[in-house]
């Protein structure tokens, strides 16, 4: 257990509404990541952070924004949710040598 929690764990929302997912870690790791996972696919990187206020885009960043105002929290925001953003979202941290450990995931459904 790498001390990673995600909230909420499940969410159903309507198209066009804003949604924020939270990732919280307890061990002050510098690097944090947001991935999405869709059926039959591996994980795809949305955004990542390499420190407070330092973030960068991943391969599927369109429609998502992130913020990191404290080391322990990394927020993922869908400004206007669409049905294509229905997915399972995983947060991860990197420990030494960049091994990544994942949070429990958030299942998001956009209706």
């Amino acid at each position: 257990d790498a001390g990673i929690t995600q909230s909420p764990r499940h969410k159903v929302t309507e198209t066009g509404t804003p949604v924020t997912l939270r990732c919280h870690q307890t061990e002050n790791h510098r690097y944090m990541y947001w991935y999405r996972q869709d059926p039959g696919h591996g994980l795809r990187l949305i955004h990542y952070s390499y420190g407070v206020k330092d973030t960068d885009k991943g391969e599927v960043s369109d429609g998502y924004s992130v913020s990191r105002s404290k080391t322990e929290d990394f927020l993922l925001t869908l400004e206007s949710a669409t049905s294509s953003q229905t997915s399972v979202y995983f947060c991860a941290i990197s420990v030494s040598n960049y091994e990544q450990y994942f949070g429990p995931g958030t299942r998001l459904t956009v209706t």
């Binding site: 690097y31 991935y35 591996g42 990187l45 995983f90 960049y98 990544q100 949070g103 429990p104």
Partner: protein, 110 residues
């Protein structure tokens, strides 16, 4: 564009069989290759490989990397039903950014 391809996509075996899962990659900045196991929850870390030809081993699981041919294999010997899972391969570049393959779904029947 970085690319990781896993094969086969799915595999059904019986307990006691040995399986080999494949991962090939094309990435611009290679730092390491990682294997994860995913049951009905978050992926869990298995191995990290950085050097060619050095086998990593944990119990019945082992893995090796070939940086010249750009692939890795994950072997599982004497499979058990508890090995049923999706096995994910990921290649890491700078800042720990990872590109994942689509995974191999392994089903082990009693």
């Amino acid at each position: 564009e970085d690319k990781v391809v896993q094969s086969p996509l799915s595999l059904v075996v019986h307990e006691g069989d040995t399986v080999t899962l494949n991962c090939s990659y094309e990435v611009t900045n290679f730092r390491s290759l990682l294997w994860y196991k995913q049951e009905k929850k978050a992926p869990t870390f298995l191995f990290m490989l950085t050097s060619s030809g050095i086998e990593k081993k944990s119990g019945r699981l082992s893995s090796i990397l070939d940086k010249k041919e750009l692939f890795s294999i994950l072997n599982i010997t004497a499979t058990q039903t508890g090995d049923s899972a999706i096995y994910l391969c990921a290649v890491q570049g700078n800042a720990g950014k990872s590109t994942f393959g689509d995974g191999t779904t392994l089903t082990v029947k009693p």
